[in-house]
């Protein structure tokens, strides 16, 4: 005869089995849509490149991974550091960080402004912030080009006022990419910041003033700590797509100011080097994951979040 304890153990086992069964549709989707393609990519990065793109199936090679940071001289086969790739990696990380900082500085006051409007007006302002989001990214990028090109609005205006005599070359520089990305990704910063700010009890701000804190001290000691979850979320949301940006550097940066996205595209396109493209993609993913880990660790250490 089964003891109560045995019955309980059996029931629990049955329960666990049922749970696996019930969650199987979700597990299948995750396996097919997320883990599967990643695995294919990993596999491709370790194969020989095909002559006209694609890979030579099941012929393994580490050439793809070598190519990420190293290059083989055409004449004497010596290995050297691939300067071009290092430059592109560095430019991507640098421009993504700068984009994050610029959008944070522009987005913070914007989100604060919206959060302090009367409840009815807020929706209108949020709507205005998200409108560019519904416009094709290519069109937005060309609009930015119209603003910063040599005969564009900025240069014409500065010449007309008399600040400069000849147009400043902004197009096809890193600055052009920075302006473009900051413009494109600003809503991604504003929205999470707003979501955090909207939750702030503004009586806390009054309490701060009441307790002799000046405006700057209230911002530093009360508002920023309370908005920290929004700052972190916004920074992640801007940094990650910036790192892999493709359209903006292509249009505004021209051919020579490539970023990682363009480099990867090149390998799958004209470069016909799929293994290298796959290896570069995985490298990009590792950088993003590392960045996320650092953020999460920082966030949990300082307690981030309300209360």
């Amino acid at each position: 005869m089964a003891t109560p304890r045995e019955i309980a153990v059996a029931a629990e086992r049955q329960d666990i089995r049922n749970r696996w069964l019930l969650s199987s549709p979700a597990l299948v989707i995750i396996a097919l849509a997320a883990i599967g393609p990643l695995f294919v990519m990993l596999l491709y990065s370790f194969m020989l490149k095909g002559d006209y793109g694609d890979v030579k199936a099941w012929q393994f090679s580490s050439d793809g991974w070598f190519g990420v940071f190293l290059q083989r001289d055409i004449f004497d086969d010596t290995l050297t550091l691939a300067d071009a790739h290092v430059t592109i990696f560095w430019r991507s990380v640098k421009l993504s960080l700068m984009t994050t900082v610029v959008t944070l500085f522009l987005g913070f006051p914007t989100a604060y402004f919206i959060a302090t409007r009367p409840a009815k007006q807020r929706d209108i302002w949020l709507f205005l912030v998200t409108i560019p989001f519904w416009t094709n990214i290519l069109i937005r990028t060309f609009a930015m080009q119209e603003v910063i090109r040599n005969e564009g609005i900025v240069n014409s205006a500065m010449i007309w006022i008399g600040i400069i005599d000849a147009p400043i070359q902004i197009m096809y520089t890193d600055w052009a990419i920075l302006f473009g990305m900051a413009y494109v990704y600003l809503p991604l910063m504003v929205l999470p910041l707003y979501a955090s700010m909207e939750k702030i009890d503004f009586r806390l701000v009054e309490a701060g003033y009441d307790l002799y804190a000046t405006r700057l001290q209230v911002l530093r000691r009360i508002i920023i700590p309370l908005v920290k979850p929004g700052i972190i979320a916004g920074s992640i949301l801007v940094f990650i797509p910036s790192l892999g940006a493709y359209v903006t550097p292509r249009v505004l940066g021209g051919g020579k100011n490539m970023m990682l996205g363009n480099l990867i595209e090149l390998q799958f396109g004209q470069g016909r080097n799929w293994p290298l493209g796959a290896a570069l993609s995985i490298t990009l993913m590792i950088i993003v994951t590392l960045a996320l880990l650092v953020y999460v660790k920082n966030a949990s250490k300082s307690g981030g979040g309300h209360g």
């Binding site: 009054e206 309490a207 701060g208 003033y209 307790l211 209360g307």
Partner: protein, 365 residues
Amino acid sequence: MAIGKTAIEAVGVTKIFQSSGQDSLKALDNVSVTIGENEFFTLLGPSGCGKTTLLRLIAGFDFPTDGQILLHGKDIAPLPPFQRPVNTVFQNYALFPHMTVGQNIGFGLEMQGKPKAQVEARVAEMLRLVQMEELKNRRTSQISGGQQQRVALARALAPEPKVLLLDEPLSALDYKLRKEMQIELKRLQNETGITFIFVTHDQEEALTMSDRIAVMSKGQILQVGSPRDIYDRPAVRFVANFIGETNFLEGKVVSTAKGQAKIALDAGTTITASLGDGAKPSGKVTVVVRPEHASLVAASGKATLSGKLENIVYFGTDTHYHVKLHGGSEFTVRHQNVHAGALAFEKGDKVGVLFGADAARVLRD
């Protein structure tokens, strides 16, 4: 209480809130009031009467449309809140959720630029004062409502303000805790010697805690006085109605003499009632009688008024007798219950109501 030196003085303060396009709202209408040093002063009134607006003007969160707010004779109305030696205990406490109890209490001192050791010492002292030493390192979300209330008090008192403003601080607490905090607040005020300006809509709270009360309605102060003054000698109908239960009798003035007036009630009887200082009413007036200032007697010529006993409601400590007077108006008599038993009247009996001239008061309308 005699008013010593003046702490806060409002002179002709008006506050108009402009709402876009529509009618502007006059929250305060030419309010003048003087609040003494070391006084427990209460602003009492229903919601929307302007009491919180007046408090916010003193704190500096809003600025008056017109008039002056003087602190020890100096106009502080144009100063921002962080330049006023005035602190506030907020209705919802407004404790900083990202700081510990100790950090909350020390925040004001830190912002004033006090050295760290001094801040630490003062925080310890304040924690002792509100009996919360062992909770210093807790987050504010980890303590109870009553404890949050104490932290809010300690935080506001820590920088030793000249005046402490309290915006309905007890309204979120349950009945028993509220009673405890009322006593606690009185004790803190005695120990610190700071002027307390207390905003409430709870008349009982106002009566038990205050040195003086200002009753407000529709942006104006109707009467200022000690709790006893306000309760026993209401000057206007609103005050009499808002504080405690009251019987209203309508009538016409027949004659006045020596602070008393003969009033011919609409029902026919003539009664004698006392007048406020220097009041010389004429024509139609209202007379108020507190239910506990009248007594129920057998119907006879001696009774001031007479009628029929409509209802008897038992309240434990006392009993309410509802009398329908000749002429139709209602009159309530409150009688303290004693061990010997209830009054020997029953529903439907013809009864008389007896009160003296000093129990009846003629109101300014």
